[in-house]
């Protein structure tokens, strides 16, 4: 009778399957998400490298000539030296450059304000979830009231009170957004708080902030990722709207919203490129962030995967 050697399990040299890797893999399978992520990456790179790759710095008056104004896309400059890919605006600025710089500002403001609001919201949400009882009720009341008001009104009021300027716009954006984060974090934290591992940590005598930050928070990250992407898209749109209305960023920091606003009057005289191209850039930015956020939402919640 021959002895059968037991089969030795093959040593799998592949990387261990952490939740992040699993997430990345699931996301990679979603076509819409990958395309949007690709666009987003492209736009981010363009925005970050604007000073390096833009044909001209449109805000350096030395590089701008009024005689070049209102040239349509693909027109060549008067001295024949370069082509204006996307035309020029009313003051002679190259649209392509203006858009790149504008992208930088729009994306920057959107990301910074969302992250700052995230920080504030996380602190408030965790505090509310941990404290419970009346503190929680009070904080959530404030959150509810703020969330029932349209963001644009809140931003309006804040800007009326604070005045204009980059820092004030940022502050207004953060104050508008923190409530959503606070509510989401508090919801997720409450669910976690009632789980056994929190009780175990409390039993070990760990201080509250440590429990919340190092134990509860990491488990709330998943829905937070989705919320953050959505809020970034909202922040960018809101800032653009405010700038368009003239109550957002000052003229010295022209975001895409301001560019669109500047070009508005030219639309009626068929010089659409001054407004439309910045608009397209803005839409691409917001849509790609939204789609990535939406796909992340589906990937993070397997039940939604159709």
């Amino acid at each position: 009778m021959t002895m059968q050697t037991p089969a030795i399990p093959k040593f799998d040299a592949a990387l261990p399957e952490t939740p992040w890797r699993l997430l990345a893999r699931r996301f990679a399978r979603r076509r819409a998400g990958m395309i949007a992520a690709g666009f987003l990456l492209l736009l981010t790179v363009l925005a970050l490298s604007a000073p390096l790759i833009a044909p001209q710095n449109p805000y350096d008056l030395g590089q701008v000539w009024i005689m070049e104004n209102e040239k349509p896309p693909l027109a060549t400059s008067s001295d024949g030296a370069h082509t204006y890919l996307l035309g020029t605006d009313g003051a002679g600025r190259d649209m392509a450059s203006a858009i790149l710089y504008g992208l930088r500002i729009s994306l920057g403001i959107g990301v910074v304000s969302a992250l700052a609001a995230l920080a504030v919201g996380v602190v408030v949400g965790l505090a509310a979830a941990y404290a419970g009882g009346r503190i929680d009720a009070l904080l959530m009341r404030i959150v509810d009231v703020q969330l029932s008001l349209p963001t644009i009104l809140v931003a309006l009021v804040l800007l009326a009170v604070l005045g204009q300027g980059v820092d004030k716009t940022l502050m207004a954006l953060v104050l508008v957004q923190w409530a959503t984060f606070a509510r989401n974090v508090r919801g997720a934290a409450l669910v976690e708080r009632n789980k056994d591992y929190v009780e175990a940590a409390m039993g070990q005598g760990l201080p509250a902030w440590r429990i919340m930050l190092r134990h509860v928070l990491p488990n709330c990250v998943a829905p937070l990722i989705v919320t953050t992407t959505n809020q970034m898209a909202n922040a960018i749109t809101l800032e653009a709207t405010m700038s368009f209305l003239g109550i957002g960023l000052p003229q010295t920091e022209p975001s895409l919203g301001l560019l669109i606003s500047n070009g508005f009057d030219y639309v009626l005289s068929h010089q659409y490129w001054i407004s439309v191209f910045p608009g397209v850039a803005l839409v691409l930015l917001v849509v790609s962030i939204s789609v990535v956020g939406d796909q992340l939402r589906v990937v993070l919640n397997p039940k939604l995967d159709a």
Binding site: L153, A233, T241, L245, S261, F264, L268, S275, V276, V283
Partner: protein, 323 residues
């Protein structure tokens, strides 16, 4: 049921009160309003006199008392720019904003609900996937850019619709409205559509989600098991249950529409409250800003209240719970 409504009414009053305090503080105490009337280099006597007139020399809580007292009499101060009562200015412009918001609401319901219901009942269909894509675009595209594109397309290129302003108005119960004739509606279409887009996308999404949930419920199968045909199934079993969350969202969104009309009115030069407020903000005409905020807040509270009542009417289960 009525004590629940009474509680809500009381809450609303409380919210209004808090808001009035915040508005007062924010607008009248931050910065120095006196310098809006009097140039900074004016002689002291003039500054003192102006301050006394405005009551700025009184203690804060007295100022608030005056503010509140006046407010309840309908006097929210005069506009610095127009030198007319701020509230009057607001009320003059309100019909224009309201008719735009109502038209946008109707458009959202008329487009969003049918598409949403179809998508919910036929998941995976072409209509559903298109609607899904549309709704993502709808919430992402900034309102003002959409307005721009619509103007470019329908006014500049095609010349079908006017690019701005409000059309000729007719009097309806003493209020000037422009929706009573095509010549007036012509001017309303583009702004209303622009305003409604975000809402259409939202309603589509909510209706689809609600329909999908309702269509999978046992009582739908139960109805089919007793022989109910597709039309009746939709009309009497699916739709009433779908509409419960949808109607509440529509109601709440109406408030948002009124707020967002700011942007639309700016783009289309529509003479409503929104345009007024932007101008006032830029020109630091604080009484008008305060008046606007109070009026809008009042509208909100009213709308929320109406939505609560509607919800009670639509869902009999709630009536029992609050009884």
């Amino acid at each position: 049921m009525f004590d629940m409504l009474a509680k809500r009414a009381l809450q609303s009053v409380l919210v209004l009160f808090i808001m009035s305090v915040l508005a007062f503080v924010g607008i009248n105490l931050v910065g120095d309003p006196i310098y809006l009337l009097v140039p900074p280099d004016a002689p002291q006597a003039e500054i003192a006199r102006a301050a006394q007139q405005l009551g700025l020399d009184l203690p804060v809580w007295q100022q608030y008392g005056r503010f509140l007292g006046n407010a309840l009499h309908g006097d929210l101060g005069n506009s610095f720019i127009f030198n007319r009562p701020a509230l009057h200015l607001i009320f003059e412009r309100m019909p224009a904003t309201l008719e735009l918001a109502v038209m946008a609401l109707l458009l959202s319901a008329a487009i969003g609900i049918p598409f949403g219901m179809w998508s919910g009942m036929h998941p995976g269909s072409l209509v559903q996937r298109l609607s899904s894509g549309f709704s993502i675009l709808g919430v992402s595209v900034p309102v003002f850019w959409l307005g721009l594109i619509l103007i470019m397309l329908f006014s500049v290129s095609l010349g079908w619709l006017p690019s701005g302003g409000r059309g000729p108005t007719r009097s309806l119960f003493g209020v000037e409205v422009s929706f009573l004739g095509w010549d007036g509606i012509k001017f309303m279409l583009l702004p209303a559509l622009t305003l409604a887009l975000h809402n259409i996308a939202l309603i589509m999404r909510i209706t689809e989600a609600s329909t999908r949930e309702v269509a999978g419920q046992e009582y739908v199968r139960f109805a089919r098991a007793k022989g109910v045909g597709p039309l009746r199934l939709i009309a009497r079993h699916i739709a009433p249950n779908v509409m419960i969350p949808v109607v509440t969202v529509l109601g709440l969104e109406f408030a948002h529409l009124i707020a967002f009309s700011l942007v639309t009115e700016t783009i289309f030069a529509w003479p409503g409250m929104g345009k007024l407020i932007i101008d006032s903000l830029l020109q630091l005409d604080r009484p008008v800003v305060v008046a606007y905020l109070m009026v809008v807040l009042l509208l909100f509270v009213l709308i929320n209240f109406v939505v609560d009542v509607l919800y009670l009417i639509l869902d009999p289960r709630l009536r029992a719970r609050s009884a």
